[in-house]
Symmetry: D2
Subunit: 152 residues, 4 copies
DNA sequence: TTTT
DNA sequence: TTTT
């Protein structure tokens, strides 16, 4: 039976993306995203609760993340839940859940440079990202949506 | 910073709800939900991939789940991701992720019994649910939405 | 700036799909979907409120809708809001809002006919749909997701 | 039958909120939100398409919008679709669709003032909003979620 | 106009 | 462990 497995998150990255370029040519990026919820407890005091999510991006999206996202970046994410299961050395069943990102959008970025006269329309700029703290300016209007060829 | 942490699922229960009535008076229900995705591999063969989700419901919703849901029930779920972290006996950091359900809707239920002449409009029927395979017939139009007083 | 425009609906069709095969070869299906919400008014009486949505599907999805959906069908829909604006004969500004469907899933379909020995895995069955009340049985596990080549 | 009617938007306000304080004591805010989508046409040129949405907020949320939102503000919105229908003077059936907002979150706001030592936890600051271009600084972590007592 |  |  067909089902639906959808996750929508808005939050901030806890650290810079961790990107691996695989021998196969694939690229994987792992992000750590905090979503914070505020509420008042029964005494009326404001309390914050932060949930941390492990995100996984592949290929085109991983490259965009590598180039444009940094610790603290605020993003909107759409994806699905994936849980890996395995047995550890003691033979115990183990699980680990992550979010497979299907699309993401940068938020609040008035976009550093405004000269987005990028007639090719490409979101993937050509120069490599060398600096640690200087993400490239993302062309405005970028919604990284990937044709997902990895079904799981 | 305010965030968003939202999960939307449509799937079928893998088994009957497991419900605990706590001494505090609270009620917790744990459900296990399968969301199945079908796609074609590179050879054009149809492949199915099923993801299993651990759901947690509290109080009013837990009672409704106990009364109306059974193994195989198809439901729409809205909730949020919650990950518990702890250290195991070996001192290793461990995590476990579940979905805290905020609302759910039964789907496709042509309703076992048809005698829903429940003029009170109540969703909480009075007779206890004793049978294993005979869930009570849910009053029509029931969207179990809870005023969530447990912020996390 | 990149944005998000997402609609999620679960409801029932008010009538059979209306399908047009355009000269260009494109196919358009228009559906009318009811989403019903139940609540109690301040006197504790149960009240229902139904919202009607105009859905538009194109090409592959339109064909699937034509073949499998009928008045009363329950579906899960994901799409986006689109509002057309124009001037009427009196020169007044007019608007009309519809939902452009990006994917849909049939719900609760215990599947009329059970003979889904469709080893090709194809969702697009070849025989035309002639009967009014006899939608073809949908191959199981079908989540109609379209590579959307019509950006608006 | 229970249904689902959910809208999720991320965009920017086209103008300042329009707020009316009704004699009944209720407050209504109307917002105009742009969601922009970028894509490449068949010639590979980047094209932007903007959709405008009419949002309606009530009471507590309306007041927060009045105080903190301005033309250009970027927000995340969750709500539902509502279509009003009526007959015009010529007896024609008319419709108008808007989004009834159930919760919203300000995005990208590093928050003007940083001194949000607001121990009361209140999101509703007391001073009236007089300036046109100077929205009050929103206490961080504010997710305006309303207990919706207006079912439609 | 659907559904329960 | 579900469903088709």
């Amino acid at each position: 039976m067909a089902g639906v497995n959808k996750v929508i998150l808005v939050g901030n990255l806890g650290k810079d993306p961790e990107v691996r370029h695989l021998e196969s040519g694939s690229v994987v990026a792992n992000l750590t995203l905090a979503t914070t919820e505020a509420y008042k407890d029964r005494n009326g005091n404001r309390v914050e609760n932060t949930e941390w999510h492990d995100l996984e991006l592949w290929d085109g999206q991983a490259k965009v993340a590598e180039q444009y996202l940094r610790k603290g970046s605020q993003i909107f994410v759409e994806g699905k839940i994936k849980t890996d299961t395995w047995q550890d050395e003691q033979g115990n069943n183990r699980k680990r859940t992550k979010i497979r990102v299907l699309s993401f959008t940068m938020l609040g970025s008035k976009g550093g440079a405004e000269n987005n006269s990028n007639s090719s329309g490409s979101n993937t700029m050509s120069q490599p990202n060398t600096g640690q703290q200087q993400p490239a300016s993302m062309p405005s209007g970028s919604n990284m949506e990937e044709e997902d060829d990895l079904p799981f």
